[in-house]
Symmetry: C2
Subunit: 331 residues, 2 copies
């Protein structure tokens, strides 16, 4: 329920890791040679990041970060958005800040003046368009409760967090504070499970969180199965149904399934003639879905817009739309 004494200024506030992606196309054998788990996200230290980067081919840089991608997508659709996350005051940090602010996203979290550099994610994109991510979390580890502005949270209709945050102790404290503040302000909360290994690491935290605090849950097929500890999607959906008001499960080329207290809908994926890079597909699904929520669309309409945004982002390198998404919202 919205508290009308404190007006809504933002459709969405995202809290997440502030990362610049470093993307490079590679052959399948490169993953094997470098010992990378295809399709996953691995946390790496700075030494490993430097070693991997030396092995990586020519790359392009593009702002990333799961929740940040979702916020950028929502803003590109025409929504009002804000972001909380930690960069360092270095060149990559300036790039990350620019790429949000240029979409009119409010992003005021102070940059770290000392400590590790702005986070980088080394992304290897194979010919099948699958992305394999290796994240040096860098300055992101410094985000803390002090960065959570409760007035900002109260001004946002939905506070959205990425599961990756639970990998970092001070970020975990920050997101706990943020979600508590959102509940207190009678705002909605949303969570993405991020990655199956992330779910394995934090299942004991995520299950009570989803059952008590989260209003909208995003997951892909593997992640929802990991959360529910089920072998099949239908078993997993049966298990989690009712845990929170809305559960959106993305299924790549099979589209998505949305569960609510009353309904279940399945929406087919958009046709994409040439998939280039799947980085950000789930993040951009969330952009479209949450934009739809902010505009009062029905759940099937929200799912369709989510699918359209996902279909758009996988036709380019990187998870920030080069063309803008405004035409999708109007379609």
């Amino acid at each position: 329920m919205r508290d009308m004494t404190n007006p809504i200024q933002y459709d969405l506030l995202g809290i997440g890791n502030a990362i610049v992606d470093v993307l490079s196309m590679c052959e399948e054998r490169t993953l094997t040679h470098l010992g990378l788990r295809k399709g996953g996200m691995a946390l790496i230290d700075e030494a490993r990041a430097e070693a991997l980067y030396r092995q990586m081919g020519p790359a392009t840089e593009c702002s990333g970060g799961s929740a940040a991608n979702t916020v950028a997508g929502l803003a590109s659709l025409g929504g009002r958005a804000a972001f909380i996350g930690k960069v360092k005051n270095d060149q990559l940090g300036e790039i990350f800040r620019h790429d949000l602010r240029s979409l009119s996203v409010r992003f005021d979290t102070a940059a770290a003046a000392t400590g590790p550099a702005t986070a980088r994610c080394l992304i290897f994109v194979t010919p099948d368009a699958q992305r394999t991510m290796n994240t040096f979390i860098g300055a992101c580890a410094g985000v803390s409760e002090a960065d959570i502005d409760e007035a900002l949270i109260a001004a946002a209709a939905i506070t959205y967090a990425e599961g990756y945050l639970w990998d970092t102790p001070s970020a975990k404290a920050a997101i706990d504070k943020a979600l508590t503040a959102a509940r207190r302000a009678k705002r909605a909360t949303a969570l993405t499970l991020s990655d199956t290994f992330c779910v394995e690491r934090h299942r004991d935290t995520f299950i009570p969180l989803v059952r008590r605090t989260v209003d909208i849950l995003f997951a892909n097929e593997a992640e929802i199965c990991a959360l529910a500890q089920c072998n099949t999607l239908e078993d997993a959906l049966g298990t989690v149904r009712g845990w929170c008001p809305i559960i959106a499960v993305t299924r790549s080329e099979k589209g998505c399934i949305v569960l609510s207290d009353q309904d279940r809908c399945e929406v087919a994926a958009e046709y994409v003639p040439n998939v280039i890079d799947t980085t950000g597909a789930g993040d951009l699904f969330a952009s479209g879905f949450l934009y739809g929520i902010s505009r009062g669309l029905t759940l099937p309409e929200c799912a369709r817009l989510g699918n359209r945004c996902a279909a758009s982002i996988i036709q380019q390198m990187g998870a920030r739309s080069q063309q803008g998404l405004a035409t999708l919202a109007a379609a």
Copy 2:
């Protein structure tokens, strides 16, 4: 003539500005609003770079620089290449160095420890795929004669320079030293005229340089007209013919014309169904052309390979091939 006492280790040594491109798509009206000359390259100071960046939409970063793009393209085709240019020891400088070295390009020029940051080029790409460039030259201005390794030049079959270098006094001294060293070592030299306004600024230097020192000249239609001070391409070609052994003139969708002492050939452009961004088209033409020279191809074959490389690069954002060019050399 090659001096066989000093073996050739590199097919191409490029000397140019070491720049990271910052690319963003925009509408035509943005160029008007920001006072940008469409299709050109403007030199800007750091304050203007910051102001323009604030006005720019979400961007992607990709290594650039005209001669560096040509060197990267030649290496991607399978050639052996080296580069001389100046970055600062900052994050963008590391990106620039990585993107060359990951193609096995030798790039040993010491990074500046003090002074301005690594150069950036803010590139606005309009819906017609035209690029409008704004370059903050930053650390590039620090390249000097001390960075010219004469042994490296003697080890390269061709030393290739971009016209943009003549805009910076110490770079001009460096390139003079490099071209003199190349002649002394009996190696070939090549020059790209870079930009019509660049030709206007340096015509009095470029004409004697082309007539006395350069073996292979690259220009587009407008640049060769500017150099020759002619209104039509045919007049310009008539004027410059014989100024140097090989003159390759690129004409966008009309392909290219190559003049040699004996011959003139015209080669049609490749068909490109969807042009995304023309950044680097001329640079990549030079990659293919010079790779062909290094493999002993005929001039029409060199021109065809140049056209194929140009056609490839304009189907993506940025001037460094995301897919690699090796298949083009084999075709």
